[in-house]
């Protein structure tokens, strides 16, 4: 795929990619924009090559996820703070980080984001890909590099837990 085609594809999926980057970065907008730019550079410079084995969006989301993980690890090393307080996309969020307050949202969204914070990373990612990005279970499995059965399990458990959180807690 040539550079103009790549750029056209990136632009077409930019909004969805931004939402996914936000999710991977714990809803930290600055980090998400940084991850997104780094991912785009990887794609345009050929450091991440689209092989055509899956949909472009699925592949791009995988690149974004890996980039977010890399940057999370790098930040953890650079800060030299207790490693447990720096969370990657698959780990529980740091205690001091308040993603809900980072963006201004309505009450419904605020409750959903607060509930998502209580979910394990994998469940959160699967639910985001399926409900937010409208992906199928198999597409989500491709993005996460997991088996379809595993992703389905995360999906079912995540839904059940999210319902408990949204229904049981009321005000989160």
């Amino acid at each position: 795929m040539h550079r103009p085609d790549l750029e056209a594809e990136l632009e077409r999926h930019h909004r969805a990619a931004f939402g996914w980057a936000l999710s991977c970065c714990g809803w930290d907008r600055t980090q998400a924009e940084d991850v997104l730019q780094t991912s785009y550079l990887k794609v345009l410079e050929g450091r991440a090559t689209f092989g055509g084995r899956s949909a472009f969006r699925t592949w791009l989301f995988g690149v974004i996820r890996r980039t977010a993980l890399e940057q999370s690890r790098r930040r953890a090393l650079l800060r030299l703070v207790p490693l447990g307080t720096v969370a990657g996309p698959n780990e529980p969020r740091a205690a001091g980080h308040d993603p809900v307050a980072a963006l201004e949202h309505g009450e419904t969204t605020r409750q959903l984001m607060a509930a998502l914070e209580f979910l394990p990373g994998r469940q959160r990612e699967v639910l985001h890909l399926v409900f937010y990005e409208d992906m199928s279970i198999s597409q989500a499995a491709e993005v996460l590099g997991l088996g379809v059965g595993t992703v389905r399990t995360h999906y079912e458990r995540g839904k059940r837990r999210l319902r408990e959180l949204l229904g049981g807690r009321g005000e989160l």
């Binding site: 930019h14 939402g19 309505g106 969204t109 639910l127 409900f131 949204l166």
Partner: protein
Amino acid sequence: MTQDMNDNDLRDRFRVLQSEVERTAPPYRRPANRPARVRLAPAWLAAAALATLVAGAVWIATRNGTPPPQTLVGLDATWWVTPTDFLLTTPGTDLLRSVPTLGVTEGAADDASQAVNDTAELTERTRS
């Protein structure tokens, strides 16, 4: 919110989140190209490392192959007799130096008598 909330309700909640996020999403902008890094291919790195190793090995081999300068010292210069060397010569030294042979008595008896005579002679000489 009830426990029997179905998937559509969850989907609706995510839709609201999506619309709010996308409303504030930054526009797509072409990422600025970073200056190209000078990157060595792994093959070049391996070749450079190999060349360095070979050069080092050759240098070490060459250095060890050159014989160190030697100083020749004659054996005469190392031969030295202490002034008290005569004290080490004791009576019957010859007996102690020789090894008796089992089963041969003739020569041994003669040697023993000769040694006794020598000792007596030496004692006399000392007295006189």
